[in-house]
Symmetry: C2
């Protein structure tokens, strides 16, 4: 994977429904993104929510109303078919998992692509900082923190954070490396004591799986892309479509181009 | 100026209409902002335009619909009175200059505060890089570049850029210093030959005044906060209210807190 040709082949397989696996590790180097599709009547409030909460909801791209194309990050895309698996929510309830949302698409829908931590994890690995949940073969542990998001319209709620254990002598470097990527959650929101942000039991994440924290490591917490989905679901919009967790949209943009310095 | 008390006194004078001068040099250290007020029906498209054009339209704050308060950057503010001078545009035409827009405010209006180059100019000066238009006592020269903005809805047009001559041995530092402040236009969009971005006559800026460029200096161009006003005006909304050029909104937020690293 990784060459332009193999990325094209991968995207074709995803488009026909032949690749329905989580996308972690596929098309290395290319930016992967969270998807949120809402009706236009909620688009302003959701975009405003993202503007007010840039760490948890960094907006990469917004489609034209009614257009299923990721206009800047993948101009040849069709967001109705180009993701391995979708989740459909009605009035905040999960109703269906599918590999193709063409029949659900309506002319007043807007698709939002939000940054995903895969981008900064690649940068951490390139800097010699291991990613524990990769090493342990599970999903990143995510917790509901007592950090309130800035509300906008109907959207409000607490921030979801992801946790990665980092050796103490690499914590500063981890802050530096992830600060370079504000469009994919950027610098951590907290280092150390989980109780400080209202997390009482590290062994029981609200999403994903728990990972081991070794002696000499601090838990480091980043704002998580599950926040906008969690917040949007809590607001019970009539219809919301997202990617299935871990089944991201693979854009045409290289991770490194999102680095700001 | 600069202490909290004197800033409060200044804001009271502005609120009663006793201070109607350009705000450059007032309340040093505090972030100043561009104002754009539109009706809610255009709010999504304008916010989307800003999201797609973060260098020219960095959004600092967006009011609630109908609320004239800068909710994050100045929670005690009243944006109908707290700016020295406003410009009112109807269908894209300038119709009135006033010190108070209370009688024009409507319950479906949304106020956008956008970053202003005063913040990064302060950082350049702190780094020993002089600001020519300050030295020559005039407004910064601004030019229409042949760089197309990313359109959103009715909003589209060319980027307006501001120009500051920088000694060649300080150009790299000027890039570094302004890169720290993405919320106030960030790094330059071009260094050197004006023709490369479609500027044919440096002596005739489209806005502001020309300044001298000395031997050993390069013209350096930044995306300019006049872009959103220019673009919004060109789209001829029924009603748009802005600050009068140079008469900015002074927020409660310190410039340095906008630095990202």
């Amino acid at each position: 994977m990784g060459s332009l040709e193999s990325k094209q082949q991968l995207m074709e397989k995803i488009r026909c429904g032949d690749m329905t696996k989580p996308t972690s590790g596929f098309a290395p180097g290319f930016t992967q993104a969270n998807l949120v599709i809402l009706k236009k009547e909620l688009a302003f409030e959701f975009l405003l929510f993202c503007q007010r909460n840039p760490k948890s909801c960094p907006v990469l791209d917004v489609s034209e109303v009614g257009s299923p194309v990721a206009r800047t990050f993948a101009p040849e895309s069709d967001l109705r078919t180009d993701i391995p698996k979708y989740h459909i929510y009605k009035h905040g309830e999960f109703v269906e998992e599918t590999t193709d949302i063409s029949e659900h698409w309506e002319s007043d829908m807007v698709a939002f692509l939000l940054g995903c931590s895969f981008t900064f994890e690649e940068a951490l690995i390139a800097n010699g900082i291991g990613i524990r949940h990769n090493e342990e073969g599970c999903n990143v542990p995510m917790y509901r923190a007592n950090i309130e998001t800035e509300p906008a319209g109907i959207f409000h709620g607490q921030m979801i954070v992801s946790m990665r254990p980092i050796p103490r002598d690499q914590v500063v470097r981890a802050v530096q490396v992830t600060s370079r990527f504000p469009d994919v959650h950027g610098a951590p929101v907290h280092i150390g004591d989980p109780a400080f942000i209202g997390i009482s039991n590290m062994a029981k994440p609200d999403f994903g799986q728990a990972v081991s924290i070794n002696d000499g490591e601090d838990p480091v917490f980043w704002a998580c892309g599950v926040t906008p989905q969690s917040v949007a679901m809590a607001s019970k919009p009539e219809l919301m479509i997202t990617h299935a967790p871990g089944h991201m949209f693979i854009t045409d943009v290289k991770n490194e181009t999102l680095g700001v310095f």
